[in-house]
Symmetry: C2
Subunit: 360 residues, 2 copies
């Protein structure tokens, strides 16, 4: 396989198995923050295989407002209504986009009702709670997918194809980065992302460092065996977390080192690059939903820039999830996959605190 | 100052103080490997302020051959001849490009003769020997410059100008990388770069990891306070060194983390990128002498690619060195600057071995 063959199929949905009319998978969206309203619900409306039929919020009033605002949403429920089993006939699957530390109970209820779950990342605020989530899903035999939208990003998939085809040789090093000016985006020091009780162990690795971390795993198709980390949190709004910013190195088997940085107080920027024995590939920008994707591949002295038509990653993600549910196949980013990230993240915070390499 | 003003002067020699006819500074080149013959001597021939007048090698025969090969070289000397003070009237300065662990004695002799010295990087094979080199130069009152050719690279200087002008805001993270397929370039497992007695503590950090390391210091105008590192040396030719490849994080003051990788067994590749609170700048390719330079600056959502006319970095470096000697000014990359790198490198190897953060 050559470079052109790999890159030519760049917008193809190489994962879709269900017919376009196999759905819709009816989705209850849980957690109605800006992400769900501005990104998730419109993406579902635009999808081939999904439809939003239920909206769930802590506040029943807000849920009903959102239900009234969007066509096709039949029910606006409070969290309590949801846990009590209201309107279970009106949805087949649940999308959980509440603060990290509140995912578990929604997934447990969904599992009780036999509903498939797409849960935002990181899947929970601690390894212990993530393990309980996986156990609940396993016991109920439901599909549990963690919402790694990078997995259905055509640019990311094509770079993995290049690696699989051996066109970059053996991978040697990975560089990854994601940063955003959180306090400019959401100028509220009391937001849940800065509250360890709701967000988990930190602010930058958990929320955005996760992107280069998980994408490195996805591209290398391998999991790190040890981590090291450096952290800093000098900004005022970051007094309760260890990491306004962080640098961490993931040691993969065979001496492949992925070195990553993340910051909640820097210009919006993201990239991931794999350098191999025969060449390299870089995706930049890589991770923000509102940016185009560009892949630069260098091999044998030749550099090729490929501009990727921007796809709606959230739409692709919802259709991938629906596709897996409708065809009875496991998603790649399943509960165990997410749990591995949780263990890595916990190790990164431990390494950062202790100034020591932590083995996984 | 705006972006255009900074980038417009991109090929200017903002450092030259001497008149073009102030020289030539007559240089004795010591160590006649491929680098000296193919890169250094031609660069000096092309310089405004230098001329090669003496060639020194372990073998007098080789030195005389090289002297005969290049116009203007008056003397071919053995190392012994050099140390004995032969032809000291024929040169004003010494360029030392022998294996790392053999720099010290040449610099000591040059200092004895009152000659200025341009010494290849890393300046020696250990901190202890580097300290002796600095002491010898200080005692003799000679100029000692370490050959960081990145310091006169226009692309690197312009990115520093952007940082100084505050156009990227406060720096937050740096990514740097350098790799080359050493065994394809020099297919000899007995080469000095793989021999700790000649090269120093390792193979990749000392030889090429030094580029992102030193360039991060140069761009940030700051020195790291702690380091972490991961190393691997599984390739057969690398049995005697800890690092066929390495990843290391430099912790600079104010929580600025520079995360770097280096490998002697990967495709040729190099970059350095600074991400700040207001924008970012990337140089890619960054470090190999035979590649053009491209700088990509992203600020306020706008990305600007600037292709830099390739300058002969070695020529610039020799002229910078001559300029400092002829105008009686200290070079930026002086002995103390090089010694700081040596201490950082030693800390990186210690951190890699122990799996622990090492403070400087």
């Amino acid at each position: 396989m050559d470079l052109a063959t790999v890159l030519d199929g760049f917008t193809a949905r190489d994962w879709q198995g269900a017919a376009d009319d196999a759905g819709p998978l009816r989705v209850a969206v849980v957690g109605l923050g800006w992400w769900t309203r501005d990104e998730a619900i419109p993406a579902i409306a635009d999808s081939r295989l999904c439809a939003t039929t239920v909206a769930v919020s802590r506040s029943r009033e807000k849920a009903r407002e959102v239900a009234a605002e969007f066509e096709g949403i039949e029910h606006g429920l409070s969290g309590e209504d949801f846990h009590d089993g209201a309107a279970t006939d009106a949805y087949d699957a649940v999308y959980v986009a509440t603060p990290n530390a509140t995912h578990l109970e929604y997934v447990e209820s969904a599992a009780d009702f036999g509903k498939a779950v797409l849960c935002e990342k990181p899947m929970e605020a601690s390894v212990e709670r993530a393990e309980r989530m996986v156990a609940a899903a396993d016991e109920a035999g439901i599909t549990l997918m963690i919402a790694y939208r990078m997995h259905t990003e055509p640019a990311v998939r094509r770079v993995r194809d290049l690696l699989r085809a051996g066109l970059l040789g053996d991978p040697v090093a990975v560089h990854g980065h994601m940063s955003q000016p959180l306090m400019e985006m959401i100028p509220n020091p009391d937001q849940w992302r800065l509250d360890p009780e709701l967000a988990g162990p930190g602010a930058s690795v958990t929320d955005i460092g996760l992107y280069p971390l998980n994408t490195a795993r996805f591209l290398l198709e391998s999991d790190p065996v040890a981590v090291q980390a450096s952290m800093d949190a000098s900004g005022e709004a970051f007094a309760d977390v260890p990491d306004e910013r962080a640098a961490f190195t993931l040691e993969f088997p065979d001496g492949v080192f992925a070195t990553c940085t993340a910051s909640q107080h820097a210009a919006q920027s993201s990239h991931i690059e794999v350098i191999g024995t025969e060449g390299r590939a870089r995706i930049d920008p890589a991770f923000f939903a509102n940016e185009p994707r560009q892949v630069t591949v260098t091999r044998e002295g030749t550099t090729l820039d490929v501009d990727f038509e921007q796809v709606d990653e959230m739409r692709e993600e919802f259709d991938y999830f629906a596709d897996r549910v409708l065809t009875g196949r496991d998603p790649e980013g399943d509960g165990d996959h997410g749990l591995t990230d949780m263990r890595i993240i916990e190790a990164i915070y431990e390494a950062g605190e202790q100034g020591e390499r932590v083995e996984l």
